[in-house]
Structure formats: structure tokens, C-alpha cells
């Protein structure tokens, strides 16, 4: 009996990716939401020449709320369909959290891949330190996925619909938002990576702390 | 005494009100607890 946590985690991830490929509920809502929000934002700002600070904030606000539109699907779809019972019977809790965490990370990856080019078309940035932008997005996404996955589990267990997920998630994500905007602002101003060290340190420590805390707390959310 | 005495009096009055209200709550709960013990 080989029970390596990596294998069980990947099993959960593969299962979610396969279900998502067929049902397309999470990716759909995330992409749709981001396109809609971005269009609305660019309509309201398109005409004016806006500086790097505003663009950085816009990017992260659209990213955050598009993410919040889809990141709870991972758990909510399990409780709504009732498969959470089978999952609880068969899978180790840590692998469930990590599998869903990686699935949310995948969602954010897809979101970034769609959003950044679209953003560059609608609200073009003259020049930027693309490397620093990537670092900010990747680290930010890890932090985002870490805490939203646990909050999604809480909301799913509470069996509650609607906006509670966003209400609970937003205040917890403020540090990522602030640091993300800070790093992106410096990226759009083509500053070197070293200049954004405070932001990067915040993003890294936030992601680490939240991932560790979520792993410890998840058992209490998952088991009745 | 500077010219903020009016504000001072007001804040003191508010505090006395709060204190009285909390003391009343405290007494009411103690009475309830005694009654439940019987």
C-alpha cells in the first residue's frame, strides 16, 4: 500500500482538472468575470493617459476580484454535488487541501495568462520590467491561493451561498493586494527587481505563513 | 484649564452614563444567576 502524500495530492489535482475540463465551471466564471471587469475598467479609463500607479492598482483589483469569482468553486462544487462525503471517506485531508490549492494556483495561472495580454491591449503600458511583474504575479498568486483555498473550504462547510466568500476573503488578502500593487508599480516603472525587495519579502512571508497556517487549520474545517 | 472644558464635561458625562449602564447590567445578570441557582 503506497500512500505518498504527493501521489494523493496529485490525484486530487488531476481529478479536479479533469472535472473542470468537462464542466468548466471555475475557469469559466474566472475568465468571464475578468474580461467583463477589465472591459468596464478600460472603458472608464481608456480615454485618459493614466500613469503606472493607477494601472498597477487596476491590474491587481481586476485580478483579485476575478480570482474571488472562481476560487471557491473547488470546494463549493464538492459540497453542492455531495461528493464531499466520498472524498472525506477516501482521501487524507492534507492532500485534499494541497490538491485544491494547486488547482486554485492553476486557475490563477490561466487568469494571468489571459489578463496580462488583454490588459496590455486595452490599457497599454509603455515599458516595464516584465521579470519583476512575473515575480509579483507568481508570488501574489501563491499567497492568494493559500488563504482563499482554506476560506473556500470554510464557506463550503458552512453551506452558505453568495458573496460570503468574497466578504471573508478580501480583508485577509489586503497584504497581498498592497504588496502586489507595490511590486507591479515598480515593474511598470521599469525599476530593478532589487528596488521591490520590501514587497517581495512581504509576498514571500505572507505566502509561507498562510500556507503553513492553512495546512494546520484545514483538518478542523474538513472533519465534522 | 484650557477652553476645552465643555468637551471635557461632555466626555465625563458620557463616561458616567456608560459606567452606570454597565453596572446596572452587571447587577441584573448577578440577580439572574442567583435566581437560577435556586
Amino acid at each position: 500500500m503506497k500512500l505518498s502524500w504527493l501521489d494523493t495530492t496529485l490525484a486530487v489535482l488531476v481529478k479536479d482538472l479533469r472535472t473542470e475540463a468537462r464542466a468548466r465551471s471555475a475557469v469559466g466564471s474566472v475568465l468571464l468575470f475578468s474580461v467583463v471587469t477589465l472591459t468596464a475598467v478600460s472603458y472608464s479609463l481608456g480615454g485618459f493617459a493614466i500613469d503606472a500607479d493607477i494601472q498597477a492598482s487596476m491590474l491587481w483589483i481586476v485580478l483579485l476580484f476575478a480570482a474571488l469569482a472562481g476560487l471557491s468553486r473547488g470546494f463549493v462544487s464538492e459540497t453542492e454535488s455531495g461528493t464531499v462525503l466520498a472524498l472525506r471517506l477516501a482521501a487524507p485531508p492534507t492532500s485534499v487541501y494541497l490538491g485544491k490549492f494547486l488547482f486554485n494556483l492553476f486557475l490563477l495561472g490561466v487568469l494571468d495568462l489571459i489578463l496580462i495580454p488583454l490588459f496590455q491591449i486595452l490599457l497599454p503600458v509603455a515599458s516595464a520590467n516584465w521579470g519583476l511583474l512575473m515575480i509579483g504575479l507568481v508570488l501574489g498568486s501563491i499567497g492568494l491561493a493559500a488563504s482563499t483555498t482554506l476560506i473556500a473550504a470554510i464557506v463550503a462547510q458552512a453551506g452558505v451561498k453568495g458573496t460570503l466568500f468574497t466578504v471573508l476573503a478580501f480583508p485577509v488578502l489586503v497584504p497581498v493586494l498592497v504588496a502586489g500593487i507595490g511590486a507591479t508599480r515598480k515593474a511598470f516603472a521599469s525599476e530593478p527587481v532589487a528596488a521591490a525587495m520590501p514587497e517581495i519579502q512581504l509576498l514571500v512571508s505572507y505566502a509561507g505563513v498562510m500556507l503553513a497556517a492553512s495546512l494546520l487549520l484545514f483538518d478542523h474545517v474538513w472533519k465534522d | 484649564m484650557n477652553d476645552y472644558t465643555v468637551v471635557l464635561i461632555a466626555v465625563l458625562a458620557i463616561w458616567v452614563g456608560i459606567f452606570a449602564y454597565i453596572m446596572m447590567l452587571d447587577r441584573k445578570v448577578s440577580r439572574l444567576e442567583k435566581e437560577l441557582k435556586r
Partner: protein
């Protein structure tokens, strides 16, 4: 003996209020036009604003500690304490926000000046709002205590980020207000700090007292419902 303590708290807080208005030395702020400095009476609100902000965080810490105890082993009394301290934390947060806005309005004409500490209190208020919304959406007492407890622990972990790290990063986002940030406690002399800390103690006494009443009310309510 207990009630003597309460009366002592009452008198001490009254003394603190009087001291904040009279005994505490006058604060000055530089006047760029004249190069000198002129008195800053509205600064005295700091004695009410800062302790409230402190208590808002302390109450959240107490709520988190009781939430950890709930996760270790559920008992209704533990959950009552977690909820009661969160409720008081929300009250102190609102108090801090109001006093902060009052001060900002008097001094800078704007109700909100995006001072990083001020916005972290706002975020705390949002967290409390989320916490209570979550609590009200779950019926089973044990499940409610457990899930709300987990959220309060996760949310509290962001508080150090909000208070220590975000202000440093946030300063780069906004030019700090023209007048040097006199709110920094560092610029207060010892007499002022004595008054400030006595304020914190009075608030702490009030917090402990109201919390004990709150939890006793919950205990009575539970005994009534099961008689």
C-alpha cells in the same frame, strides 16, 4: 471585593479623562509659515484614539486564543468568550475609526487621510464583519464555533502584516501627510506617555469587565434554554 474593583475602574477612567484634557502637557507642531510651532489642542484625542486601536487588536488576539482553545476541545463557554471578545474588538475598532476620523477632519479637513494604521483598523473592522456574518450563517453551535474559530485564527495572522509590514510598503504608495506624523508615539514625552498607558489600562479594565458580563449572560441564556 469585586465591586470595589469596578468602582476603582470607574474613578480611574474619570481621572484619566480629566488628565488627558488638563494634566497632560500641550503638544506642539511645527508651523512652516512662521518657522516656530503653535499649540495643537486637538492632539489630545490621541489619548482616546490610540488605546482604542490597541484594544481592537488585543481583543482580536483574545478571541483568537479562545478560538484555538475551541479547536483543541469544544465547550460552549470557550466559544462564548471567543465571540464576546470579538464583539468588544469590533466596538473598539469602531471607536478607533470614529476618533481617528474626528481628528483627521479637525486637522486636515478630510475625514480619511489614509494613514496606514488607520486603514489597518478599517481592515480589522471588515474582518470582524466577516467573522460575524460567518457565525450567523451556521446553526449548529459546535460547527459554528469551529469554523468561525478557524477564520478568526487565519484572519488574525494577517494583523501583524497589516500593522508592521503594510504601513512600510504603503508609505511608498502615498506621500505622507505634510505635517510630520506627530501621531508617532515616539514624539511624545514621558508625561504624555504616562497618560496614554493609563488610558490603555482603563480600556483593558473595561474590556475585561464587559467581557465577563457578556459571557455570564450567554451562560444564563444557555441554562434557561435547557431547563
Amino acid at each position: 471585593m469585586r465591586s470595589a474593583l469596578k468602582w476603582l475602574l470607574g474613578v480611574a477612567t474619570a481621572a484619566f479623562i480629566v488628565a488627558a484634557f488638563t494634566w497632560a502637557p500641550e503638544m506642539y507642531r511645527p508651523n512652516f509659515a512662521t518657522g516656530g510651532s503653535d499649540p495643537w489642542p486637538t492632539f489630545r484625542i490621541v489619548f482616546f484614539h490610540v488605546p482604542a486601536a490597541w484594544l481592537c487588536v488585543i481583543a482580536f488576539l483574545v478571541s483568537m486564543i479562545w478560538s484555538i482553545k475551541v479547536l483543541r476541545g469544544y465547550a460552549p463557554e470557550k466559544d462564548d468568550k471567543a465571540m464576546a471578545s470579538a464583539q468588544l474588538g469590533q466596538v473598539f475598532a469602531i471607536l478607533a475609526l470614529i476618533s481617528g476620523m474626528l481628528w483627521a477632519w479637525r486637522d486636515w479637513g478630510a475625514l480619511w487621510n489614509w494613514d496606514p494604521r488607520q486603514s489597518s483598523v478599517l481592515i480589522l473592522t471588515l474582518i470582524y464583519a466577516g467573522y460575524f456574518t460567518l457565525r450567523s450563517s451556521i446553526d449548529d453551535p459546535e460547527k459554528r464555533a469551529r469554523l468561525a474559530g478557524v477564520y478568526s485564527i487565519l484572519a488574525f495572522i494577517t494583523v501583524p502584516f497589516l500593522i508592521f509590514v503594510v504601513p512600510r510598503v504603503m508609505h511608498t504608495l502615498h506621500p505622507s501627510p505634510v505635517i510630520p506624523d506627530a501621531q508617532e508615539k515616539g514624539s511624545m514625552n514621558t508625561d504624555m506617555r504616562v497618560v496614554l498607558y493609563s488610558g490603555v489600562f482603563c480600556y483593558l479594565g473595561l474590556f475585561a469587565w464587559v467581557m465577563s458580563i457578556r459571557t455570564r449572560i450567554e451562560a444564563v441564556r444557555r441554562r434557561l434554554s435547557t431547563r
